[in-house]
Symmetry: C2
Subunit: 361 residues, 2 copies
């Protein structure tokens, strides 16, 4: 049986996700969802049981959102997109649980203690600056409640080794511990110590689907409600390849000096042609263009303007240089403001780390 | 590589323990130890680094004792022997940590929630009645401190799957979780949140040696002091075979009605001969005799009297019927008194369970 490895940075085969793993295509069945460009632009492309969750929300029932981030590299635009989702739901009045998967970072990625602490500070300061309210339920895996650890431990009795292996592939002790810890992340808010049984939505990248499948199977076996999930597309790297935190030229980090970001955008892959002449004749190819993707995912909220940009590109009415220049202006403006906000949130983030993280090694 | 499975009830190959796994023969190198019949009678037969620990104790340095019990069957004389050890050390002024391995019972043995709760009550009431002070550090795995869980989780990063498998053999998710939980049981009191680094002695049966080896390896890798261990012999079953909680005729349970215990002792295997005549001529064989083992392990504190009994047996001066009758009298008297004490401790045990155990399933 084929497995998806949530701990590798493999390129996702979307065909396999839909056919092999039973993820459904996201269709917009409620006007309210059209207010979120991540839905209308197809960035959130798939789901499991999304509408069961959404209908409970629309019917005034208790629902919640949970997502997690592993503090394993610089906070970049991919992380921003997840926080953007949380903030949108938060503004609908939905309770947010934000799990920082530090145990995963320590045991699976083997990132050292100080590095994890620094990374958590950055993630939190950025998340707060992006609008996540510090009053939401934010925690690190290494410092949660007893019912949470108890649940993780007890869940391990509900799966065979072969089942875990079928979901995750090759195991290590750290991955095994991490898998049940993640299952508890996703399920523990259904404990009577928290909200009790209710529908939880977990917005994730498709690479995290193994955790969703594990949690859904386990939920079934302990009489909890299966968590719902949405899946968002991965932004590609600036060079058109895989975005990877080990390749700084592939991503835009929100902590980076603005000059560095400008240079990265200037060097990004576009959908342009070989010569200006050719491009004026044939038009550009926005579907291949990272610059266009950046507008679409992050820097152009206005659908009409985005469409106009796409039209102009295809018509050969705007060249890549101009398009990049405009984006650099937008990013510069946005990032200056963001970093200013982030700096103001840093004290709070540092306090959180000081109060919540203490590793023995 | 051969492994010992701490979760099976296999018969122990002592030769393998000493040669294959590096357990040392227990030699008495301090007069003080002669006050404990478990040492003088060779019941505690092996150790790892016992004297490193003992010398720290004798030199007035901080030491502690930790042991654990899995609440998986009736509390019997085998458990009593462990508590007897704890109480002896307690009376020397040594701090005792008593871990109740309820996560192991739930995940490895798959014992249901109510059964575990009832068993913990019985174990605690018996332990208190045997002299373990309730003021010692007594806990269930499912309700410990954050530093304890954090340590268990982080330790998983310090071992490969192959290493864990080499120690334990065939793994399940529950065994994997349980193994690192046990490692944290053994090591967590060295955390700065508790006593900090110090020497810990873990008195166990030889079947638990895998946990000791795992913990010693892990201690080394995180800069903790390797735990010391002693190994006590297993009492055989009343029928001379393996003692097993699934075979009630094989053990004496401390919660059993006294009439039942009497019957069990009356039916126990002895070292007697085929006929009385033969026995008077050849003498009995105390080394084969469960009755003699019961005197030696539990019901004859006086070494001189024990030796005299052995001599009389070998000389054919006492027959099995008489020997059993005397034992039944002793056990009856002891058990009546013990059960009375235990009943008085039950409220405290119930309170502990009520305050400490709460399973979601």
């Amino acid at each position: 049986m084929e497995t998806l490895d949530p701990w590798s940075s493999q390129i996702i085969d979307y065909e396999k996700l839909f056919k092999g793993f039973g993820i459904e295509t996201m269709k917009i069945r409620d006007e309210k969802l059209k207010e979120n460009k991540l839905f209308t632009r197809g960035i959130i492309f798939g789901h499991r049981d999304f509408y069961k969750w959404w209908n409970d929300f629309r019917n005034g029932k208790r629902v919640s959102i949970l997502t997690g981030m592993m503090p394993s590299g610089p906070f970049h635009l991919g992380h921003k997109m997840v926080i953007d989702q949380l903030v949108w739901y938060q503004n609908l009045g939905i309770s947010i649980t934000f799990a920082i998967a530090d145990i995963e970072a320590r045991t699976v990625r083997k990132i050292d203690a100080d590095k994890v602490k620094e990374t958590v500070k950055s993630y939190l300061a950025n998340a707060f600056a992006l609008g996540l309210k510090p009053s939401q339920d934010i925690y690190v895996q290494s410092n949660r409640s007893n019912p949470y650890y108890r649940l993780a431990d007890l869940l391990s009795s509900k799966m065979t080794f072969a089942e875990v292996e079928a979901i995750y592939g090759n195991m290590t002790p750290g991955k095994m511990i991490s898998a049940f810890t993640q299952a508890s992340d996703i399920l523990h808010k259904q404990l009577p110590d928290y909200f009790g049984k209710h529908k939880i939505l977990v917005p994730v990248g498709p690479d995290q689907d193994p955790h969703i499948r594990l949690s859904r199977d386990l939920a079934d076996r302990i009489g909890f409600i299966k968590p719902s999930a949405t899946y968002h597309g991965f932004a590609r790297g600036l060079d058109g390849g895989k975005m990877s935190s080990s390749k700084p030229t592939s991503y835009i980090g929100l902590d980076e000096p603005i000059d560095v970001v400008k240079r990265k955008v200037a060097n990004a892959l576009t959908g342009g042609r070989n010569t200006l002449e050719e491009q004026k004749k044939l038009g550009g190819q926005p579907e291949k263009c990272i610059i266009f993707e950046l507008y679409k995912y992050h820097f152009e909220d206005d659908d009409a303007k985005l469409s106009e940009r796409e039209r102009m590109c295809r018509a050969g009415e705007i060249m890549c240089g101009e398009c990049k220049k405009q984006l650099i202006e937008k990013i510069t403006k946005w990032l200056e403001k963001h970093q200013h906000k982030k700096d103001k949130e840093m004290a709070r983030a540092e306090k959180f780390v000081e109060e919540n993280i203490d590793y023995p090694f």
